[in-house]
């Protein structure tokens, strides 16, 4: 018992803390970048001209259609063939952001389509240009509608950030794997890791809920499930 406790204190705890920190560093920028990409791509898929629309749709088809691990391998192991060397961390954030952006764009696109045409007619009749109309009238409404879906995607991101260890970015799961294969205490270590992810997703859920609450406006309430 004491031996186990010592092992946890001396080895597991510092390693997991380090991994946890790396995970957070992967997740935060990927979530923000992914959302930004998603909004941009979502808007272009609806309001872009034909070639732009086609390009945006292709983007989504590719980054949603190829397994994320494969994408990460391409960024990390493939790009050096054309002389581009990304660190494991950068390759991971890039892969996560693009993939997450493709998913976000689906939610944004759906929300954009749900905005009534009258909102646009009214904006145009006041002299709004298309870009101004999208930024000041359409997106503020669409983002509110897309928020639950986008929140879901961010929760997914927290979990699939564990794939970074596959390209040697040693985050939480990677640290766990190293610990477990050294000590053979797979069950204990991965139970603790599972608990760490659960903490992250729970905190994210609470934060996202608060955000929804703050952005809530009469007429935009979401049915709570």
């Amino acid at each position: 018992m004491t031996e186990g406790w010592l092992y946890i204190q001396a080895e597991v705890y510092p390693a997991l803390l380090k991994g946890f920190w790396v995970s957070l560093q992967l997740i935060a920028p990927s979530a923000l970048l992914g959302l930004a990409i998603g909004i941009m791509v979502g808007v272009l898929r609806i309001y872009g001209n034909r070639p732009v629309m086609a390009a945006a749709n292709t983007f989504v088809a590719i980054f949603r259609g190829i397994p994320l691990v494969v994408q990460l391998f391409i960024w990390y192991f493939g790009l050096p063939h054309i002389g581009i060397y990304l660190s494991p961390f950068v390759a991971s954030v890039l892969g996560f952001s693009l993939c997450s952006g493709a998913y976000h764009s689906e939610y944004i696109r759906g929300a954009l389509l749900s905005i009534k045409r009258g909102q646009m007619l009214a904006a145009q009749s006041l002299g709004f240009s298309k870009v101004r109309m999208i930024i000041s009238i359409i997106l503020p409404q669409a983002i509110r509608r897309a928020l639950p879906g986008c929140g879901n995607e961010i929760i997914y991101l927290i979990k699939y950030s564990s794939l970074a260890y596959m390209i040697t970015c040693i985050e939480l799961t990677g640290q766990g794997k190293i610990l477990a294969s050294n000590s053979f205490k797979y069950t204990e270590v991965f139970l603790m890791i599972g608990a760490c992810y659960l903490v992250m997703t729970s905190v994210a859920t609470i934060v996202l809920g608060r955000m929804e609450e703050r952005l809530r406006i009469p007429g935009f309430e979401h049915r709570r499930t």
């Binding site: 009258g118 007619l121 009214a122 009749s125 006041l126 002299g127 709004f128 000041s136 009469p218 935009f220």
Partner: protein, 252 residues
């Protein structure tokens, strides 16, 4: 001779094979209130939307203050639309903004006014339509009549030279129509130039400088309210007017 503030010449529009507008022309002088009447599908909404190019006409030209509007030029188009306010049947308030923000946003985002200055003006416009105490409410918290009055305030805040109103009261419960009519009447008394489609002929005939009867994409007959409602020359006009008088009550 006065020159018209708005000249609309030979506007045509077709959707697929259907000619929805077949060369509508109209001169509007300053302070005029032109009323468009006509059966459903006559093209009243399409004509109004063509006038500020929410629908692009296939043919026709428009002049505002003797300046032809070249709507293919975006800058011209956006500048022109600021001078032509539009009121919609279903209000189309921006759902994510309060009444005050609805009125303010055009001034800030389109005209580039400062937020404070625009806010003051917005309060004035809301006061004018009797909604100052409701300015912090969102559209979902307002009645239909209140929404329409906010939308009028929103249009007025842009200092339009002409207002286009497309059946501004037909989505309203009867008891709410009066409050919107009062605002429009007030506008007319203050010299606002307006073109309005409506079925409320009582209201129309008491205010209109001219009534235009539209059918099948054409303006079939035009004249003073008295002429159109009591001495119409065209049989279709007579028929429509007697039908509508029956439906919408006595003219006042």
């Amino acid at each position: 001779m006065t020159t018209p503030i708005l000249r609309i010449e030979n506007i045509s529009k077709r959707y697929g094979k259907k000619d929805v507008l077949k060369g509508a022309s109209l001169d509007v002088n300053k302070g005029d209130l032109k009323i468009l009447i006509g059966p459903s599908g006559a093209g009243k909404s399409t004509l109004l939307q063509c006038i500020n190019f929410l629908v692009k006409p296939d043919e026709g030209r428009i002049w505002l203050d003797e300046q032809e509007v070249h709507y293919a030029n975006k800058r011209d188009l956006y500048a022109y639309r600021q001078k032509v306010g539009m009121i919609f049947q279903d209000f189309n308030l921006f759902d994510h903004l309060t009444a005050l923000e609805n009125v303010r946003i055009g001034m800030v985002r389109v005209k580039g006014m400062g937020k404070a200055e625009a806010g003051e003006r917005a309060v004035l416009e809301l006061e004018r339509v009797g909604l100052k105490e409701h300015m912090q409410k969102y559209p979902a918290q307002l009645s239909g009549g209140q929404k329409q009055r906010v939308s009028i305030a929103r249009a007025l805040a842009m200092d339009p030279k002409v207002m286009l109103l497309d059946e501004p009261t037909s989505a309203l419960d009867p008891e709410l129509i009066g409050e919107v009519h009062a605002v429009i009447r007030d506008l007319g008394n203050n010299g606002m130039t307006m073109i309005m489609a409506t079925h409320q002929i009582g209201f129309a005939s008491s205010l209109a400088s001219e009534i235009l009867f539209m059918e099948d994409g054409r303006i079939l007959e035009r004249g003073t309210p008295d002429k159109i409602f009591n001495h119409a020359e065209n049989a279709r006009t007579q028929e429509f007017c007697s039908k509508i008088t029956e439906l919408y009550g006595e003219r006042g």
